[in-house]
């Protein structure tokens, strides 16, 4: 028996916001909608979606695993278009991950809609003196549609389609105040930077389609796993890219990295992170919904979705990028003064944690972090929106201070957010907010990967080859390359995994360099792929350090805003709290406190059963399920054997109280406002320089502006000039030259029409005879009353052309050919 209730509910929930968008786009400005009612429609739409999502979520968790698997299997597919011989289907990917993400998006979006009614009702909805209130909610509807569509897509192509639509909404909403140059600049920057990522996405997509012959996420992953096991398809293929011969495992890695490039754009990972801070030019609810909770998480979601298509090397790349991002952006966050910018950089840093988590194989933990982050970051942004709105668009925290008295609810919900992002929790107990568990879990896995990579990682698959040879071994047949990376890792345990990676690469090169010996080479590749490289130690330590930095800069932000004495009396006097916006803050705060561990963690765990339980993953990352078990055992009961407890509990004590240390430090430093910190900065040599560098975002934006933006524009100007002045002039030159050769009438080419005295008939005939240039251009003044003549002449032109051809063909040597032909 097939049951499609869930898909129908989810699909319906996607379409409802689209309907809201359509209605608002066409009629939003006028009665019966207008200013407040347009928002009610949008809110009603997303709330309905949320109700549907809640229904699906609750029913789904009442089902057994088998039932879920069956429903996932049976979810409908509708034929959309043919791609060559490949059928592209549109359908709902029905599994735990989808349902959780779907619920999260609709839930947060509903409350942000609610918040926006209050926020946008102020004068902030004026664009160029006109009310664009309805337009804001129309865009939100379009965004919800795209985001939900992205979440439920069962096909990689549809994922990409919605992916781009989400980018469009981001563009429109960042540039919502489009009469302001900085807003439209920021929107453009976001879109184009994302397109750079999409460029990689397209290449990854092309590779997926090329080798798996399907767009379907599951089918592609299955085909990939099957090819991996059999050593066929992409593992036996090679392509040339600009002289670079890519084959086998490297090609598969390229595929994964390509897809990840898309995620780098959307989730704003280094080096494509530059758009997110600028995106704060949009209205604050937009920052909360799109640039904190949902859209920027889409990249993480994508990586989680295509996790089964990632090779160990691709995962390593992802981990490195995530690690760089989380470190760099956290440091920049320390020196920011704009409250939204601080939140933006903290978002970047937290996204870096998620991406890093996925990269090290902490699938469950990364998604868990995504969920918890979505709640507390949305709340933080809404809180900042309250502050900004209350302080009449003051964003600089240096001018705030003491606001706790004026806006208590905002102050304390914000504080809960700070605690959550700082990772508040008491090690060894059940007490803690979401960030505590999720971040800890990521770090635990990173610890495993950096320090504890022993042979057990490939106990089932890798032990058939006992060689301790560092660089592979050649057996009797001379073509069977073996490389046991696990052993290499042990040998190369001196603190870097370079040797292991080199071993992988060299063995791979040897395997693929054998020409005919594909089958044997493949065997070697499989062995290599079955083991994960050990992580370099810095990739564990950097996230640990940043775990101390995060509470510091968040506490700094909160303290300077709400605590201490008012530094700008004017701002303080005006500060007020809008009661209409209480509800979303409080709901999200409750969500942050309650939902984090007890609700999300088990849900994600279940999702990992469905989403990650594939042969390829088991082969690539045999430990993924072990990882997902770590926190449950280590953190909840502290009684776990099998060597997992020790690193983890030790870890819990290393980072477990980082929140306290970081926050205390910030509180002390900024107890009386920013003066003390300023004095320290000036006193310690080098610190001022560091401060300036960080304030300028490490000059990355400057470099991009200078090299890329200006470079591309200059190149454009250059080519544009080349086009008009070289190519076109060359063409004209040819024309002039041709004119000289023929029987010339001595007139300028472009004057011919005006002054020519040779008839049209001649012109056509001669043209066909290839001397048009010379005698052509002789059309008598075509203006005014003589047009009719020319029309008649034109109609006759074809006949004359025909006549000419006939004469020519009959008179030339063609006649011989014809007679010869007819003689046969």
């Amino acid at each position: 028996m097939e049951n499609h209730t869930f898909e129908i509910c989810l699909a319906l929930g996607v379409v409802i916001p689209l309907i809201s968008f359509t209605i608002l786009a066409f009629f939003g400005a006028n009665a019966p909608f207008g200013k407040p009612r347009a928002a009610y429609l949008a809110l009603g739409a997303i709330a309905s979606s949320c109700l549907l999502a809640t229904y699906v979520l609750i029913s789904w968790y009442g089902l057994s695993l088998e039932q879920k698997a069956q429903l996932t299997q049976e979810a409908f597919r509708y034929h959309w278009a043919d791609f060559g011989s490949i059928s592209i289907d549109v359908g709902v990917k029905l599994d735990s991950l989808t349902i959780i993400m779907y619920f999260m998006v609709t839930f947060i979006a509903s409350f942000i809609h609610l918040f926006s009614i209050g926020y946008m009702a102020g004068h902030s909805d004026e664009v160029g003196g006109e009310c664009k209130f309805h337009r804001f909610f129309a865009y939100l509807g379009l965004f919800c549609f795209s985001m939900l569509g992205l979440v439920i897509s069962s096909s990689l192509l549809f994922l990409f389609i919605f992916w781009e639509l989400v980018g469009l909404c981001s563009y429109l909403l960042i540039g919502f105040y489009f009469d302001k140059k900085f807003a439209s600049d920021a929107g453009m920057k976001a879109f184009i930077t994302n397109r750079v990522g999409d460029f990689g996405f397209i290449i990854g997509l092309a590779l997926v389609v090329m080798y798996t012959k399907t767009f379907d996420l599951d089918a592609a992953a299955d085909a990939f796993a099957q090819q991996f096991n059999a050593g066929t398809g992409i593992f036996a293929a090679s392509i040339d890219l600009f002289g670079w011969h890519v084959s086998g495992l490297t090609l598969a890695t390229l595929m994964g990295v390509g897809l990840f490039c898309g995620a780098m754009g959307k989730s704003a990972q280094f080096p494509l992170h530059v758009w997110l801070p600028d995106a704060m030019a949009g209205p604050t609810p937009v920052s909360a919904l799109i640039h904190a909770a949902t859209m920027v998480a889409a990249g993480v979601y994508l990586v989680a979705r295509v996790f089964r298509l990632l090779t160990p090397d691709a995962q390593f790349v992802i981990a490195v990028i995530g690690c760089i991002t989380l470190t760099m952006t956290a440091l920049i966050a320390i020196v920011q003064k704009d409250i939204k910018k601080i939140l933006a950089y903290s978002t970047l840093s937290q996204l870096g944690y998620m991406v890093f988590g996925l990269g090290v194989g902490a699938w469950t933990a990364a998604l868990f972090h995504l969920m918890t982050h979505a709640f507390f970051k949305a709340m933080l942004f809404l809180g900042s929106g309250q502050v900004i709105e209350g302080c009449h668009h003051e964003k600089n925290i240096m001018n705030m201070g003491g606001l706790r008295k004026k806006m208590p609810v905002t102050c304390w919900t914000f504080f809960i957010g700070v605690l959550a992002i700082a990772g508040f929790g008491i090690p060894g107990t059940h007490i803690g907010l979401g960030g505590f568990f999720s971040k800890d879990e990521i770090l635990a896995v990173a610890y495993e990967r950096a320090f504890n990579m022993h042979a057990e990682a490939h106990g089932e698959s890798g032990d058939s080859h006992g060689d301790n040879d560092n660089h592979g071994d050649t057996d009797d047949h001379g073509s069977h390359v073996r490389a046991d990376v696990g052993d290499n890792v042990q040998l190369a345990s001196a603190g870097s995994n370079t040797t292991a990676l080199l071993a992988v690469q060299s063995a791979n090169a040897m395997a693929s360099g054998e020409g005919g010996g594909h089958a044997n080479g493949t065997q070697a590749k499989m062995d290599i792929a079955a083991t994960l490289p050990q992580l370099p130690k810095w990739m564990f330590w950097l996230p640990i350090i940043i775990a101390y930095v995060t509470p510091f800069y968040m506490m700094r932000c909160w303290w300077l805003t709400f605590m201490g004495k008012p530094r700008d009396q004017h701002v303080y006097d005006h500060a007020h709290e809008s009661k209409l916006m209480y509800i979303p803050l409080v709901v999200l705060a409750v969500g942050t406190v309650y939902c984090s561990y007890w609700v999300f963690r088990p849900m994600i765990s279940q999702a990992s059963e469905v989403a990650a339980n594939a042969p390829a993953v088991v082969a690539f990352d045999g430990k993924i399920h072990d990882y997902s078990e770590i926190p449950t055992h280590a953190m909840m009961t502290l009684t776990h054997g099998e060597g997992m407890v020790n690193p983890h509990t030790a870890l819990a004590y290393i980072v477990g109280i980082s929140w306290l240390i970081g926050m205390l430090f910030a509180a002390i430093l900024y107890w009386n406002g920013p003066k003390l910190a300023g004095r320290i900065k000036d006193a310690v040599p080098g610190l001022a320089f560091l401060h300036k560098t960080l304030e300028n975002r490490l000059y990355i934006d400057h470099v991009y502006d200078f090299i890329l933006v200006e470079g591309v524009k200059t190149l454009g100007r250059l080519w544009g000039w080349f086009d008009t002045n070289v190519i076109d002039n060359f063409v004209d030159l040819v024309a002039y030259a041709a004119k000289g050769i023929g029987v010339t009438t001595g007139r300028q080419l472009d004057m011919g029409v005006e002054k020519g005295d040779i008839g049209l008939v001649d012109n056509i005939a001669n043209a066909i005879a290839w001397i048009t240039y010379s005698t052509g251009s002789g059309l008598r003044r075509p203006q005014n009353g003589r047009i009719r003549t020319y029309v008649l002449l034109t109609a006759g032109a074809a006949g004359i052309a025909l006549l000419f051809v006939l004469i020519w063909s009959m008179s030339s040597d063609a006649t011989e050919v014809i007679s010869a032909a007819s003689a046969q």
């Binding site: 009469d179 453009m188 389609v209 454009g716 100007r717 063409v731 109609a795």
Partner: protein, 536 residues
């Protein structure tokens, strides 16, 4: 009325309209033109059934043409020229596109009285309708000679439409267009004759039948025979190159593209719409109907070169767009960039590439007239096209701003709109070309370079949108009215089609996929036969 008569009425309907225009008083010229083009459009819609139920796609290439009329027309000695028209998946959608764009362009010409050059209404509308016959005839012709005649018939009206009713440098633009196209025509004519006589060699009686060229084994063997020489070069290659140059001028492909921005800038809005929406497609259609099926071996030999030209068009056109300050020139260069995808898709000779190219032809046929019309709307009001002088138009004209955003995003290739499908099909198809033709090892790299075009496209479109539509309202444009009912009525069909084709591309693919498979199969068969012959 059977399909054949419908098609004949569609082709020559505009001529009847032209006669009416010439007879009737000049103030009715535009009414007659709009009426005629609409009638032709609705007539062409009546051709749909055979293509919708798939009955048009049984059998091999050329075996199942629809709406066929085949009668002897001119017979002199052994020269047998037929009036042979018919439709298949390659041409059908283009016929519909043409009749649609022509109707919209006719409606765009409605404000003829307000133009700078507003004299000679009769002449303008008569030529307009003659042009429509020329284009429709070219798409429907299956006899090469007939194809050639229609091709020439289309050329002259265009020359006058630009040269008389154009802008400041209209004569220069017109003559440039004319000479360029004629140069191409001459090469085509040489090929036409050579192919006729070669087919006479092969079968005893020469033919101009385009389908027979591609499917008659004797002819394909003769045409693609590596030992067959023409002026000391390989016959197939020379013919292919001649035809290719003839058509590439029309597409236009780098380096023969400089007539296009000029012609667009000088041409009045409706003529630009026709030029971009329909005329450029004739070049691409020429590749698909003439060059590739008839000379598959040469096409394969030259595939690298052609794909390179396609990629150069994409990137070069996009860079040139970044440099433009004239709104219309920018859109013209974007046409060049977009047509690059068509050529790239055709060059790789795979089903996906062909599908993408065909789709891109149609998508660009919708989006580029829309963009040109959008430029026209603002030109009618501002009487200039300097991008840097604009700004704040979305606030001034909200409806227009929204429609413009839609149109330009369709051009940008945003998913959900028509431009995306063609682009992604071509890009992925090119990347995958190696799977079909193992010798195309360059294909993935080509796709990577072409894919970079999506970034540049986003850059120039968004930058243009920012400069023209966003920003604060300006004094200078304070009096501008939002789009009128007529303008909305013209934009609306294009907007709807852009969305429809983007969301449900399956229906558009359905109109052509069958034929694409058949063409590729025929090409495969003939090139295989050659390979066998060489091997044996």
């Amino acid at each position: 009325m059977d399909a054949s008569s419908i098609l004949n009425f569609v082709i020559f309907g505009p001529l009847i309209g032209m006669v009416l225009v010439l007879i009737a008083p000049s103030q009715y010229a535009k009414h007659i033109t709009v009426g005629t083009s609409l009638v032709v459009f609705f007539l062409s819609l009546m051709l749909f059934p055979n293509f919708l139920n798939g009955s048009a796609f049984d059998g091999a290439y050329g075996e199942n043409m629809q709406a066929v009329t085949q009668i002897d027309w001119i017979s002199v000695a052994s020269l047998k020229i037929q009036y042979y028209v018919g439709l298949d998946g390659l041409s059908f959608a283009l016929i519909i596109l043409t009749t649609l764009v022509m109707s919209l362009a006719a409606a765009t010409s409605w404000n003829f009285e307000t133009w700078k050059v507003n004299k000679g209404a009769k002449g303008y509308f008569a030529l307009f309708l003659l042009l429509e016959t020329g284009v429709l005839g070219t798409f429907a012709s299956l006899d090469f000679f007939l194809f050639y005649i229609f091709w020439e018939v289309m050329l002259l009206p265009m020359y006058f439409l630009i040269g008389v009713w154009g802008g400041a440098r209209k004569e220069y633009a017109a003559i440039k267009f004319f000479i360029y196209t004629l140069a191409g025509s001459v090469l085509m004519l040489v090929a036409l004759l050579a192919m006729f006589f070669s087919s006479a060699d092969a079968t005893g009686t020469g033919t101009f039948n385009l389908l027979e060229y591609a499917t008659n084994p004797a002819i394909t063997a003769n045409f693609n025979d590596p030992a067959h020489m023409f002026l000391g070069f390989n016959f197939g290659q020379v013919m292919f190159i001649f035809l290719f140059i003839g058509f590439m001028i029309k597409v236009p492909l780098f380096p023969f593209h400089t007539w296009l921005p000029l012609a667009h800038v000088e041409a009045p809005t409706p003529i630009s719409m026709i030029l971009a929406g329909v005329l450029l497609k004739l070049g691409a259609y020429g590749f698909l109907r003439v060059c590739y099926p008839i000379f598959p071996t040469a096409a394969m030999d030259l595939s690298f070169l052609i794909a390179t030209l396609g990629v150069v068009n994409i990137i070069y056109g996009a860079f040139c767009c970044l440099a433009q300050t004239d709104f219309k020139r920018l859109v013209a260069y974007s046409s060049i960039s977009h047509m690059g995808y068509v050529v790239l898709g055709i060059a790789v000779m795979t089903d996906i590439g062909y599908q993408g190219a065909m789709f891109q032809i149609l998508a660009h046929g919708i989006s580029s007239p829309m963009c040109f019309f959008l430029v026209g709307v603002i030109y009618d009001r501002a009487h200039h096209r300097e991008i840097n002088r604009f700004g704040g138009l979305w606030l001034q004209m909200p409806k227009y701003g929204s429609l413009a955003t839609l149109g330009f995003f369709a051009s940008l290739g945003l998913p959900g709109l028509c431009g995306f499908i063609g682009e992604i099909w071509v890009l992925l198809g090119t990347f995958n070309a190696q799977a079909t033709h193992s010798e195309m090892t360059w294909a993935p790299a080509m796709a990577v370079v072409a894919a970079f075009g999506v970034v540049l496209t986003a850059a120039y479109i968004l930058w243009m949108i920012q400069r023209v539509y966003l920003g604060e309202r300006r004094e200078e444009y304070a009096g501008f009215k939002d789009v009128t009912a007529r303008e909305t009525a013209i934009l609306f069909p294009m907007a709807v089609l852009a969305i429809f084709m983007g969301i449900l591309p399956g229906y558009t693919f359905q109109l052509m996929n069958g034929t694409i498979d058949a063409v590729l199969k025929a090409m495969h068969v003939s090139s295989d036969a050659i390979a066998m012959a060489i091997g044996g």
